[in-house]
């Protein structure tokens, strides 16, 4: 902030307004009008729609399908016990079967032993069952999920991460949507478990609330859920059988979402993917800024790989249905891949064309605009959706850092896309060993 303070002198600010509203608008256009604002408005309308509909949600009918949770574990160690305990603790009268898939169990002995230790605890509970499956040879996340699918006996299958624990009403919230036979999948809401560990973690907690809890609720209100999170996805078993499980390669969660969506168009939009902001999982995020950037490079790189290489053919209104087609173009390709380039180009252009004081002043204006937008959205979302409002409001003080944080993330994602395009970075993934990714067709 000090940097900005020194660069920006007060006399420049009236300058923006002297140029007239039209020019100013032009300078904002790429950022705001064409993209951020409509999306924010769509999400807010969606959240409002959800909030109103949630008020009149009927009492739960006695529909308690059996649930199989495939927990993909790698090197989580003792954290796996939190996951298993939180699933055992669910307030749900139906059956919950937990399949702890330990990938590379011979190396990850602690994870395997930790999972095995829980069998006594689980056996004390009615309708809870724990199966620990050691995959001695490491085979990657997808192989764990598909192996788990073979063992799964429930009508509902969950793909969960071994480092994610859940609120005790999660299964109850999630299963109620499947009473509607056209609901093919439910995406769960992720929150940050270690939010108080560091500043980076706190900022990610704010980001998760806006980009997951709120945005997905908004999109879900229009059946436009863009991704079923890999750490927390819930599927109807018959749908999983239809798409024949997960596909090898990275970003298998997005891949699965797109493949399910491919049926939307074919079946005349009957199918739905629901996001439930009250079905909550808590996951650990990288506590350091460096770790955060590394994680995002991987995610964003995987994203462009998936959109541009693997699912090029999926981009057809025929397969996805028109609304989803537009949404994938809009949120997927435009926002996450094209936008970083636009922002980067715009900033460079700004500094080249205008004097530095003017550019910085303009950026400051952009900053305040974003901050205001964020503040309004954050308060609105906490009021409408948050189940832990006190905790979320306590992070308001970090909000002024968020636009900078988001900018850094955008630039990082630019690097990721370039890296992926030029060097096939997705093969350099920690999600599967090289001897598995090597065989991948794409």
């Amino acid at each position: 902030m000090d940097v900005f303070g020194e660069l920006v002198t007060v006399e420049y600010i009236p300058l923006f307004f002297e140029e007239g509203a039209g020019t100013l608008l032009l300078k904002f256009m790429p950022f705001v009008l064409f993209f951020e604002l409509p999306l924010a408005l769509l999400v807010m309308v969606g959240v409002m729609k959800y909030t109103i509909e949630r008020r009149s949600e009927p009492e739960r009918s006695p529909f308690f399908p059996s649930v199989s949770c495939i927990i993909t574990c790698y090197s989580e160690g003792r954290d796996v016990q939190k996951t298993i305990m939180s699933l055992t603790e669910q307030i749900y009268p139906g059956k919950i079967e937990m399949l702890a898939m330990i990938d590379g169990a011979s190396v990850n002995k602690l994870t395997y032993d930790s999972a095995m230790e829980m069998s006594g605890y689980v056996s004390d509970f009615r309708n809870r069952k724990l199966i620990v499956v050691p995959k001695w040879q490491r085979g990657g996340r997808v192989s764990s999920l598909n192996t788990g699918l073979k063992f799964a006996s429930g009508e509902i299958v969950m793909a969960l991460d071994g480092d994610t624990s859940f609120d005790n009403n999660m299964v109850e919230r999630v299963t109620r949507h499947f009473e509607d036979p056209y609901v093919s999948a439910v995406s769960g809401c992720l929150r940050v478990r270690n939010a108080d560990e560091s500043l980076t973690a706190s900022l990610q907690a704010i980001e998760y609330l806006i980009s997951i809890q709120a945005s997905k609720t908004g999109l879900s209100a229009f059946n436009l859920v863009n991704n079923i999170s890999g750490a927390f996805g819930v599927f109807r078993k018959s749908v999983m059988d239809l798409v024949e499980g997960w596909d090898a390669g990275t970003a298998e969660d997005l891949d699965m979402t797109l493949r399910i969506k491919n049926y939307f168009g074919r079946y005349k939009k009957k199918f739905r993917i629901v996001f439930d902001p009250e079905a909550i999982g808590h996951t650990d995020v990288p506590p350091t800024f460096k770790g955060f950037l590394k994680q995002r490079i991987r995610w964003d790189g995987d994203l462009s790989y998936l959109y541009f290489k693997k699912h090029r053919l999926s981009f057809s209104p025929k397969l996805l249905g028109w609304p989803n087609f537009l949404m994938v173009i809009f949120t997927g390709i435009f926002s996450q891949i094209v936008m970083p380039f636009v922002i980067f180009a715009y900033t460079v252009w700004l500094f080249v064309v205008f004097p530095i004081e003017y550019s910085v002043g303009l950026l400051l204006l952009v900053y305040f605009f974003y901050l205001l937008l964020l503040l309004v959205m954050y308060l609105f979302f906490v009021a409408c959706l948050s189940e832990r409002p006190r905790e979320d409001l306590s992070r308001l003080c970090f909000l002024p850092l968020m636009p900078l944080f988001a900018f850094a993330a955008r630039m990082n994602s630019l690097v990721a896309t370039v890296w992926e395009m030029t060097a096939s970075g997705h093969k350099d993934t920690s999600m599967a060993p090289w001897w598995v990714t090597r065989k991948n067709k794409f």
Binding site: E89, I91, D167, N168
Partner: protein, 493 residues
Amino acid sequence: MTVYKIYRILLGEEPVHYSDEKITDFPSAGELLEKKPKPGIVLIDGIKGNKTSDMLKVFWELVELRGSAEFCFAPIYISRTMKQLDIMVDGITANIEERLPEAISILERGARVRRDALIDNYNLRMLTYMYVRGDSYLLSPVCAPFSQWVYSYPHIALLLDSASKAAQMLRPEDLSGQDRLRSFRFDTEIMMALKAVAYLEDNGYIERYALVDRIRKCPKCRTGHLNYVDICPNCGSIDFEKKVMMHCFTCGYVAPDSDFRKSMSFVCPKCNTVLRHLGSDYDHPLESHECNNCGSKFIEPEVKADCLFCRTRTDPSDLTVVNVYSYKLSEKGSAAVRTGTMQMEVQLFDGQNNLKFGYFCNILEWMREYRKRYSDEAFSVIGLKFSNLYEVETSLGEDIYNKIMDELIFRIRSMVRSTDITTSSAPDTFWILLPRTALENSRILAERIEKLNDMLEITSEKKIEIRARSFQIPAEDDQTPAEQYLAMFAEEL
């Protein structure tokens, strides 16, 4: 060398064994016994063992053979396996020739036995059975899980006089033959065998060889079929539930999780916080139990052992611990077999002055003669009867019963003078001959014996009824045998 005969009992049309001149066939054990045969080897043949009815036929033949004085210790073989019956015979063989050496050694040792002593002495039969099978013979317990006694010695049970009054008195109900056979469920005999083995051990005729197993039994009825059940420590009900306790982090309230449950979520009843996540909103400080019968709350249920037969509930530490042993014949036991004499089996009195009933009657008649000659030589007889031993044992349980009996016997023995002569005419009837004692004096003693009941140190709900009367045999009558008088007196008891 004596040539022993082979008696074959042919029970069916399908003999395994060939016929030859050494083998004599009989249709049943009954017909064999009627012929008053010489000692020999018995082979049961001609029947397949795959039907229960077949096994039952063989079983009754065995009961008859082993119940007889002639064949109680004889080597008996069967030609095909008869499952549970196999351990009751000396072996299964299709070719009896192969078994001849061992069978002949049994019979040769049997030749040294005084057979006439076996006629009415079933305990001696058991000792003989062990004796003839050699010094290395082990009387091993057999696990009979369907029997309420769990471990027993069924081959010994066959030797017992199961029709005797004692068996009837102790367990009057009788199972059908088929039930008895099924896994040795002839419980009467099995229990009698246990008692017999215990008696032989107590009296030193057999000695422990190895500890085979240890089981816990109901202290009242001595059965091993127990159900270990966890119960409410307050009211003893088995109907209680595990209650998980919940602890709200926000306000610290602790209560069973049912108190927190509000439709599909946990809400703290004190501070109304919604408790969503284990470890960050709440935890389970402990597990407790709540009785559905009396409502009491407790951490650990109590464990008790319920007897499946008499329904007595016992603390596991109070169960009767029974060590099950295998036995060998002792020196004393093998001497008893060779001489054909065992000490008197009466428990109430022992020592030199305790006589066989016949001798006692002889002495009584001699005393009568003596008094006729020397009229100042008065003598009297006290009759003693325990009339409800069986009921007391079943209602108090064997442990307490034994303690009471021990004390009672000790007291009675201390009242008897060393010159008094004792005997027993029935398992529960005893006689004391008191020389130089007038009827009035012996009456006082009889009264004191009758009152012993109330003076015992062990108090119990049910008391052993002791009937004691003093009698005098009229001096003028020298015709009626003493035995007849005692029978008359016994009726008055």
